[in-house]
Each structure stands twice: as structure tokens, then as C-alpha cells.
């Protein structure tokens, strides 16, 4: 089974029924698998803070949400994470492509990569980093943890994990 399919299976097994995505080459396989999964309502968003608003609504409406985005989104969503997701204490698994790490071909991506963990740390967001193939084994436990504690939780997935670009 592909890693993308396994990730979506873990979403489904943890009751996630509402997923918003912002396009990403690295996470393209996961986005495709989300789109194909009949038990998930897939709603592409135009910007990640909009997506977090949709997820907050879906959670209050009774569905477990998740967002799929790039690490550049951390720069876009600080206010939303703090004044919506955290302030109202809502769960939000964030599956993130960690651009700008080893094997990165585009220099500009590194500029955001060097701030990614620092920002997540500053925001007190529990952060997990999938670096080696097989690290996805932890996803099920991470999702259970997220919906147990009602917090946004970051899952960074880098190029080494995905086997390059």
C-alpha cells in the first residue's frame, strides 16, 4: 500500500470526515487519495487561514477535520492558529510538507524552512517530523493525541521521507 493511501486510511480510522487542502507537489498523492475517499468531504481552500476557518466550522458541526498544506502556510496562519484554533480549543491535525529541507532544489524554500520549527515551538504546537520511510507508523497515535487534547498538531513530512522530489 502506498504511503499516501496509508495516511488517508489512518484519517478514516480516526473518524476524520472533512479535509481541506492547499495544493502541494510533495503531498499530491495524499490529496489525490483524500479526493478518492468517499467517507471524506474534500474541500480545497484558496488560502490556509480560510481552510482553518472551514475546519473550525466542521468541527463544531460534528465532523473531525484535518488540513493538508505546505510549511509556508505557518507564515500565513499564525493569527488564525492562535485566535481561533487555540483560543476556542479545537483539534486540528495539520499534515505539512516540510519544504526547504535536505534534497530541496529551490533556495527560497529554505528561507521558510529555517523558521518552521521555531514558529511551531513558539506557538506551543506539538510537532512531529516524518524524516525516514516508515515514520508514518506514528500517524495513528498522533491523530488520537490530537483529538484527545483538542489542539492543533503539526506533522512535518520532508523530502527524505517522501523519497525526494
Amino acid at each position: 500500500m502506498s504511503v499516501s493511501k496509508k495516511i488517508v486510511n489512518d484519517f478514516v480510522a480516526n473518524g476524520i470526515g472533512f479535509v481541506t487542502t492547499v495544493p502541494c507537489k510533495q503531498l499530491g498523492g495524499v490529496i489525490e487519495a483524500v479526493e478518492k475517499e468517499p467517507s471524506i468531504y474534500h474541500i480545497p481552500s484558496n488560502k490556509e487561514d480560510e481552510g482553518m476557518g472551514l475546519c473550525a466550522g466542521a468541527f463544531m458541526g460534528g465532523k473531525r477535520p484535518a488540513i493538508i498544506m505546505q510549511n509556508t502556510a505557518i507564515g500565513v496562519t499564525v493569527n488564525t492558529l492562535v485566535t481561533l484554533t487555540q483560543f476556542y480549543r479545537m483539534p486540528l491535525p495539520m499534515l505539512i510538507s516540510y519544504r526547504g529541507e535536505l534534497k530541496e532544489p529551490v533556495a527560497c524554500q529554505v528561507e521558510m524552512a529555517v523558521h518552521t520549527k521555531a514558529l511551531l515551538n513558539q506557538l506551543n504546537i506539538p510537532t512531529y517530523h516524518f524524516h525516514q520511510p516508515g515514520d508514518e507508523q506514528e500517524l495513528d497515535a498522533i491523530l488520537k493525541y490530537t483529538f484527545m487534547c483538542n489542539k492543533p498538531v503539526a506533522i512535518l513530512t520532508d523530502a527524505t521521507f517522501w523519497g525526494g522530489y
Binding site: I43, E50, G53, G57, F59, G62, R89
Partner: protein, 187 residues
């Protein structure tokens, strides 16, 4: 009419519905006029009232009304194509358009100048967009609720504010009582 007069007019209609209310003065006015557990007051995050409301509407069956402002919609303009392409017939977006950023001191918005949010919403693909005068808002809103078709309402009113207290309720309390109303069955 100014925004607070529209809110006072439509409060009896909002009472029985799930409402997501925009940050700042709109939430403070509705909270003061007719606080209901079925209203989710936004205490932060300008621009996301429509996104939160659409999320609630897509996740369950009850009617959801997002009260937004022209300035807030301009902040999150990407919301209109998302609404247009994810039709939830239990969702109503009510944009109270006074052509100004009321909560920050009535600085003019572009919606009060050349930009028509009604035309923008239609261009984004929203099928049922109704622009109305402030005094018609209640009639148009009730008709939208009864139609059970996703509707975007742009209610044009004058700029201006009244003095209102800030909301001191704990955000988790606001969220929890709103979720209880979502889950409540009327029987």
C-alpha cells in the same frame, strides 16, 4: 439605517438558527441585543465568519447564517469561490455592507467605492445573490431561510456605530454552548 439597527431588526429571526457572527462590533451588538447559545461569536480572526459558517453547514443539516461585513469579506475574498463550488443549501451568508471598517473607526472599504460585492459573488459562481436595502434585510433573510437554497445576501446600509460592551465570555464556553445547540434535537 446602520448595522446595529439591522441586527436589532433581524434578531428575532436569528434566534432560532445557528449563527456565526463576525468579529468586533457585529458580535458585540448581537450579544448585547439578544445573546443566544446558538450564536458563535468570533472574538478574533477577521475574515473567517463565512468560512466557519460554511464548515458548520457542510458538517450537519441545520440552517447556518454567517453574519459578515464588507471589510471582512474583502479580507478573505477567496471564500466566495469556495462557497460557490461547495453548495450547502442550509447556508446563508449575510454580508452587512456599510462601506466601512466599523470596528476600527469607520475607515472606508473598497466595497463603499467602486467594488460591488454582489457582482463579485456572482462572478465567483454563487448562484443566489440578493442585494437589498437595509430595511428589507429581515424579509430577504426569512425568504432565504424558507427557500432552503444557499443564498448570499448583501444588505446595504449606512456607516455608523453605537456604544457596546466587549464580550467577556470565555471562548471555550461560547464554543461549547454552540456545539450543544448544533447537537440538540428539537423533539
Amino acid at each position: 439605517m446602520i448595522r446595529s439597527e439591522i441586527i436589532r431588526d433581524i434578531a428575532p429571526i436569528l434566534r432560532d438558527q445557528l449563527v456565526v457572527c463576525n468579529i468586533g462590533l457585529p458580535s458585540q451588538e448581537l450579544h448585547m441585543i439578544d445573546d443566544q447559545a446558538s450564536t458563535f461569536y468570533m472574538l478574533g480572526t477577521m475574515g473567517l465568519s463565512s468560512s466557519i459558517g460554511l464548515g458548520v453547514a457542510l458538517a450537519q443539516q441545520k440552517t447556518v447564517i454567517s453574519i459578515d461585513g464588507d471589510g471582512s469579506v474583502l479580507t478573505n475574498l477567496g471564500t466566495l469561490p469556495t462557497i460557490a463550488n461547495n453548495v450547502a443549501d442550509n447556508f446563508i451568508l449575510l454580508i452587512i455592507d456599510n462601506g466601512s471598517y466599523g470596528s476600527t473607526g469607520d475607515q472606508p472599504t473598497y466595497a463603499g467605492k467602486k467594488t460591488s460585492l454582489t457582482a463579485v459573488a456572482r462572478a465567483c459562481g454563487c448562484d443566489n445573490v440578493i442585494e437589498c436595502h437595509a430595511k428589507e434585510t429581515g424579509i430577504v433573510l426569512q425568504a432565504a431561510i424558507d427557500s432552503k437554497v444557499m443564498t448570499v445576501i448583501v444588505a446595504k446600509c449606512e456607516s455608523g456605530n453605537i456604544k457596546v460592551p466587549v464580550i467577556t465570555k470565555d471562548p471555550v464556553v461560547i464554543r461549547d454552548r454552540f456545539m450543544n445547540e448544533v447537537a440538540r434535537t428539537d423533539e
